[in-house]
């Protein structure tokens, strides 16, 4: 079942001025329930404009966007759509503002006018889920947390609204390796336990390849590719020309292939590539000098 349906969507910034810019150009696709959906594209390719439609920060100018069956052009749906789609923007820690972590996380549910007990339950649950136990972190100032912790606190604030779809824009950027690992693990866990549909924007092809069921590749406001990681990264030249590059494993596979190693299949993770190399070394299929 499709939870997001985008049909013939176009979007122009600064319409009828000398700065007019077409950010989206006749884009159509669907995201299914339970899908881990990756979006990649160079800076300025239209990714952010696109996801801003998912909770009606941008209203469709031409074409249509339906979220959870609700038309995003109809004003009566705006609130329900916004509660249904949790957005975690780049550097979400800059959006922390309350004097305690618990209050910050409670901000969303409060706006949903939920009863106090329900808000408390959600705050506790969300903080526990992101690995900032309420008892330890609840009463601390968000500004005393480390970079990775702040980001997780910001994510907790979004999860507390219990959205059906979670949209994450460059969620690991600027974090140290440990923080990255924690966030990526958290996202997988969230998908399992809390929010089955995840949309992830990233510049990191290794992460995108390892996590996504399907990847949408954008360039100049248009869809270039939409397929599984293997099918997307088969387009070696296109991905390189678009300035996006390949997962490290695919890049090495391409190098080996250019020297004459024949592989059964495209590898997008190190695990896959190691297995293929193992097989070829053991004299299995595939290898031709």
């Amino acid at each position: 079942m499709a939870v997001i349906e985008v049909k013939n969507l176009s979007y122009v910034y600064s319409k009828k001025t000398p700065y007019e810019k077409k950010a989206l150009d006749n884009v159509s696709f669907e995201i299914n329930e339970g899908e881990f959906f990756g979006i990649v594209g160079a800076t300025g390719s239209g990714k952010s404009t696109l996801i801003s439609h998912f909770n009606v920060l941008n209203k469709p100018q031409t074409g249509s966007v339906k979220v959870l069956g609700m038309d995003c052009s109809e004003k009566k749906n705006f609130l329900a759509v916004r509660f249904g789609v949790g957005m975690v923007f780049q550097y979400p820690e800059y959006q922390l503002f309350e004097d305690t972590v618990a209050k910050d996380v409670a901000f969303g549910p409060k706006n949903m006018k939920l009863p106090k007990e329900e808000i408390d339950r959600r705050v506790k649950e969300s903080l526990d889920l992101v690995g900032l136990p309420y008892e330890v972190y609840g009463e601390r100032s968000p500004f005393e947390l480390s970079g990775g912790e702040k980001r997780r606190a910001a994510i907790a604030g979004v999860i507390a609204m219990e959205p059906k779809i979670l949209v994450l824009d460059e969620v690991a950027a600027g974090l140290d390796p440990e923080g990255r690992d924690e966030i990526l693990k958290l996202i997988k866990r969230l998908q399992k336990e809390k929010c089955p549909t995840i949309v992830l924007i990233s510049h990191n092809m290794d992460d995108i390849a390892a996590l996504s069921d399907r990847i949408l590749v954008m360039a100049n406001g248009k869809i270039e590719l939409l397929d599984t990681p293997k099918e997307v990264f088969k387009n070696v030249k296109k991905m390189t020309d678009l300035g996006l590059g390949l997962p490290t494993a695919t890049g090495m596979q391409v190098e080996l292939a250019s020297r004459g190693v024949k592989f059964d299949d495209v590898c997008v993770t190190f695990d896959e590539l190691a297995s293929q190399i193992e097989k070829i070394k053991a004299g299995g299929n595939g290898y031709v000098s």
Partner: protein, 278 residues
């Protein structure tokens, strides 16, 4: 010749002795002219504090920082330091001062009182170095992230610095932008400019000659990238990660595929795998 001397430096954001929390707890090292040094460590380890000490934006609470022979505590010579040690920050949007690219680049030398004809030459040469000459009259805000960072670098270059300090300058860029900025850094380093690159990206670390690792305000490692990525103990302590290629190398070794244990570059690993397979 030493360009940056950091001696027993402690730094606290609070001036009052009683509530001092030290972001740096006594650090010493020397950086020589022409080095490409990476600085790594987890969020909050003191990397950015250190960067700001290296061109006198901050003064050490105790200890001494000397840049090209000038003490950063001496207010009379602070401009000598700022001129010689330029910084490029994380967010390209926060460092543009003018709307047009060439004005932005001219801002630094104008403030140094460089004559207009000389500024003209410097702007042209800086744009050429970063490969942005055709954007000279472009609107700065309309550029891509990688282009903006290259303009920021050009702005620093127009002051003819001896040292370039990058404070996570690639972390907000797409892969192409990151590649552009790092290749400019490499090129400038080859021309003799000292590069200090603060980063979380282990692939960038592999590009340098030397790496300093900080943990909790202390220097826990000072050596080559090869040595660092062999030192499992330090990697753990400073919460550092292996570069992707090194992770793959270890995975292969675990599976009994014999490749060298210290490979960090993708082309070297490809070569060894090829030797094993052919």
């Amino acid at each position: 010749m030493s360009q940056e001397e950091v001696k027993n430096v402690k730094f606290s954001y609070s001036k009052k002795e009683e509530n001092a929390v030290y972001a740096l707890k006594g650090i010493s090292f020397v950086i020589e002219k022409g080095e490409f040094v990476s600085v790594v460590g987890r969020n909050g380890c003191g990397k950015s504090t250190l960067a700001k000490l290296l061109n006198g934006l901050f003064e050490p609470s105790s200890g001494k920082v000397t840049v090209c022979g000038y003490d950063t505590k001496n207010e009379d010579t602070i401009f000598e330091i700022r001129k010689r040690a330029g910084m490029v920050f994380q967010n390209p949007d926060n460092q543009m001062v003018a709307t047009i690219v060439e004005d932005d680049i001219a801002f630094g030398p104008e403030n140094l009182g460089v004559p207009p004809e000389e500024i003209e030459i410097r702007v042209a040469s800086a744009l050429d170095t970063v490969g942005m000459s055709e954007y000279r009259h472009a609107t700065a805000s309309k550029l891509s992230g990688g282009q903006k960072q290259r303009i920021a670098i050009a702005g620093v270059l127009s002051m003819e610095p001896e040292i370039l300090i990058f404070d996570e300058a690639t972390s907000m860029l797409d892969p192409k932008g990151r590649g552009e900025v790092m290749s400019v850094a490499k090129k400038l380093n080859a021309q003799g400019i000292t590069v200090i690159n603060i980063t979380h990206n282990m692939d960038e670390v592999v590009m340098g000659d030397r790496v300093l690792a900080l943990n909790d305000g202390q220097l826990v490692f000072d050596g080559t990238p090869k040595e660092l990525f062999k030192d499992v103990e330090i990697l753990k302590r400073a919460k550092l990660d292996l570069p992707p290629v090194a992770k793959f190398r270890n995975m292969l070794i675990e599976r009994g595929i014999k490749v060298s244990e210290d490979i960090l570059q993708s082309n070297e690993l490809v070569e060894e795998i090829w030797q094993l397979l052919k």
